[in-house]
Symmetry: C2
Subunit: 295 residues, 2 copies
């Protein structure tokens, strides 16, 4: 199950600008996870959400948990610099997303694998409260919540099985400059899994008895980094759901699938790359990555 | 053989400041390379260079190529911020290093493995001119030379076998924002090997038919990043010299030894960590890294 934001993104790079394309954490996660396992989407859109986008979601995801409200869909406008490394937020319009509180449909309450993307920690906790006994819950957050809802965020971290965070979020939550030490500090708050997402530099998995550092898949063309983190999570949780176990080996494979799906994400604007992607291409890149990094 | 700067560093971190400690590219490279192979140092120091430092060099390196000039040794003063990621140069005093032009001793001219650390490209070319047929020449550079001696730097790149560069230097030399594409562009200038050093994020090796991305060895305590790049080069060239071949497999192993030696470098100020390091610790970390990243 996939809970989070669904939005319309305007993304400006020095090379091209796209307006009102598919965005939001739940969109990216869902469009990726569905390659690996049946995925139900829980989120809200306004009545201006384009039919063609709805069709893309419908063809891939179970939409029982999708709510359509009167009003405008969440919008996010941002710009990247020349090396596509730093994003500047130009405008955030919460619209119908601002007043939304996630309701988990009855038939999803026994979902086994649950990703709760970036929404407020209070709302993320509400999601956890509505679940029967999930096998794996993974959550994301952003600086805004670390600063403004630290108490609830700490409670969330103590209750989920896994957190997926970037370098800076690890530093902010743990209040330590070293991210390796920081991730271990976050593990002590309760979760069994902490993953540091480092974009082009890969990701590091931490469990209580393992550190698994990985490098990114090297790409010559990066078009748009938007959503790469949620796509990473989609590959990670998706592979775990597909395999049905959480052995050391499967966890490691899942991180590599996360990197692979993140690498596809940045090859196009929005979810573009996934609309034509095949399972053969995913497995092909996984194998290529494995050969590439072995020594 | 190891040609480059030998200096006295003042390094300021939020946690500690050290004054006039051993520094310079040739110092770091040599102190590392000597674990793997007999290494001769070519460089210049002033008559103020401390005896205790000279003793450390003497015990580990052949100093036939070390020149002592009347005057002061090269000095470098810099400060790191809280996360030890960004260095600010406070003062550079070239002193005797400013007028030095490397003379390769007669008995070094047939050196097989040669590292030419950060000195001007004109001087690096002078070193190449004095060599008989080396098996491997590897050079480093910095932004200053990319901006001020681009023509000579391009000639140098076309004549060496390998370049070891950081992300930003790859972007600046190749004039392309994507470092993967940038490294391939630099390969087209002539060398068989380009390595992008990414600090804590590891390194990527490029040859004409291979890309080998690696992640950094995860460290909980970083004391001082100074010299890590030259120590990486010391592990890389050192392992190649020790093995005596340049197969795909040996090149990959060498990059991992580079990461391993870079990780030891940052565990102490200056060359501190290497004064007590053993070959067993090096091989132990190599094996630990290999287990850690496998999947």
């Amino acid at each position: 199950m996939d809970v989070g934001s669904i939005g319309l993104d305007t993304t400006r790079t020095p090379f091209k600008t796209v307006v009102d394309v598919m965005g939001g954490s739940a969109t990216f996660f869902g469009i990726v996870a569905c390659f690996f396992a049946k995925t139900g989407l829980v989120g809200v859109i306004g009545d201006d959400y384009p039919d063609e986008y709805l069709k893309i979601l419908e063809e891939r995801l179970d939409l029982t948990g999708l709510v359509v409200e009167r009003g405008k869909t969440f919008r996010f406008d941002s710009r990247f610099g020349y090396d596509l490394g730093v994003r500047t937020t130009l405008k955030t319009e919460l619209n119908v997303f601002g007043e939304w509180s996630p309701e988990i449909p009855e038939e999803y309450r026994d979902a086994e694998y649950v990703y709760i993307g970036n929404i407020g920690p209070d709302q993320q906790l509400r999601v956890l409260d509505q679940l029967d006994e999930p096998r794996l819950t993974v959550a994301d957050t952003i600086e805004f919540w670390i600063k403004n809802q630290r108490g609830q965020l700490t409670e969330l971290i103590s209750r989920v099985d896994g957190m997926v965070l970037n370098d800076e979020e690890v530093r902010q939550i743990s209040q330590t400059p070293n991210i390796i030490k920081g991730a271990k500090t976050i593990l002590e708050l309760g979760p069994d899994i902490v993953i540091i997402k480092k974009g082009e530099h890969g990701a590091i998995l931490f469990t209580r008895d393992m550190i698994f550092p990985t490098c990114g898949y090297p790409l010559e063309e990066v078009v748009d980094p938007t959503g790469a983190g949620d796509c990473f999570a989609g590959g990670f949780v998706g592979h775990l759901a597909r395999k049905g176990d959480m052995s050391r080996r499967t966890l490691r494979e899942a991180v590599v699938y996360g990197n692979v799906m993140g690498s596809f994400a940045v090859e196009g604007f929005s979810v573009e790359r996934f609309l034509t992607l095949t399972m053969e291409e995913i497995e092909g890149r996984y194998q290529e990555y494995k050969r590439m990094v072995s020594f």
